[in-house]
Subunit: 237 residues, 2 copies
Amino acid sequence: MLAVTPIRSVDPRRLAPTVRSIPQATSRAFDGAEHSSLAQSMPLMGATMAYPRNAEIYGENEAAEYLYKVVSGAVRTYKILSDGRRQIGGFHLPGDIFGLEFADEHTLSAEALSDTKVLVIKRSSLEALAARDAAIAHELFALTGRELRRVQERILLLVKTAQERVASFLLEMAARVAGANAIELPMSRQDIADYLGLTIETVSRTLTALEASAAIDVPTSRRIVLRNRGALNRMIG
Amino acid sequence: MLAVTPIRSVDPRRLAPTVRSIPQATSRAFDGAEHSSLAQSMPLMGATMAYPRNAEIYGENEAAEYLYKVVSGAVRTYKILSDGRRQIGGFHLPGDIFGLEFADEHTLSAEALSDTKVLVIKRSSLEALAARDAAIAHELFALTGRELRRVQERILLLVKTAQERVASFLLEMAARVAGANAIELPMSRQDIADYLGLTIETVSRTLTALEASAAIDVPTSRRIVLRNRGALNRMIG
DNA sequence: CGGCGGCTTGATCGGTCTCAAGTACGGTGG
DNA sequence: CCACCGTACTTGAGACCGATCAAGCCGCCG
């Protein structure tokens, strides 16, 4: 017999409240980190906007009129499933581009994880630019390809055990923030859980277990020190 | 304490043996299904190749020199994980394009699910064509975008229950083969399991349960009749 | 008829979820 | 400076879903 799984309703208090705010446009910013045509063009085309912690940058189903690049802070993109759970699509750190869509509307929502500044570029101007400049067009294509790879990696992650997912997550974050072996996580345990397809309790327990096995140190809840990368790498297979 | 999960080794008999064969090049084929520039150009640029059931079309880490389009039959792309499990990246049915990569090498392997004919296009010629023809370039971009969407959908699938995954899979296949309510599955239970991140037993049991609940009929193991789409849709949320 | 591969079914195990407290931390006001 | 609060996180106990291990069944082909 087929018993439809009862799905517990999500305690709304577990999700950080969305702050609806009017972001302040600040001045045009120069982003000097990279040397590609795209990185050079973007600051010239858009404005920097500031969003406070938990502010919505765009919502699912809104017109995808802009492309975004994180200047400082961090961003999560996510989708609320019909059963109330939240699936996080990705975390975006300084330098990352997000909001690239292939339809008229965003398929995910985006929120600032902390006080965040993003560079906002009108999609139409970027498309016009890409039409004239093959290098830009190629870069957008490559960007999409990288995004596709990243999402394919996630699929491999989601069929693994909790420990493998958490270990992978830590190594991924360590690689991205590039801060030696100490990571300052910009996101909550709930965010991590919703990213990895686990519950907050499982994430917490797994971190505790990793700490007990001397693979990591967790001096404060948002700070993770990788003590034994070899052990972590062995866990992810 | 952290106990590293012991992973059972996969019974190799569970995986269909890969047939290494020399595919036969047949004649150039005309593919008249679509009216896009890409669909029109492809048959003119490539040759049709035939692969017997379970033959490898390309392997992971091989140079990604060609792009493929299924003419008849069906194809699975997959990756063998370090623990021996197999994750299927996707199933490709007639009309589908696969093998599009953004690096020099394939990240997945591809095999024929049944005797299959594919149109093979040299990547370099396609790129040359795209450089000259903006419509082709745009189509490749759109193709990538669609692929990205598809993979993002998979992520949402993989965090759901077994029943939701199987129901989604059936509805997806029904939509793709477009054959009313009866689906002739080109893949085995093991393929489905590896696609959905479940075991073969769970897939089998779930299908039995769906049949018991009158949502589907399974006259033969490869044939599924959707009896109650509403029920299936309700399951996927 | 025998054997084999693919599939189904049964029994048990174990990892993650669920439900429920308990603890640490940062901010606010007295 | 401390008392209080709310939020985030951790920890514990038990339930449940899907994995695992192990037979059976079925269709097909020699």
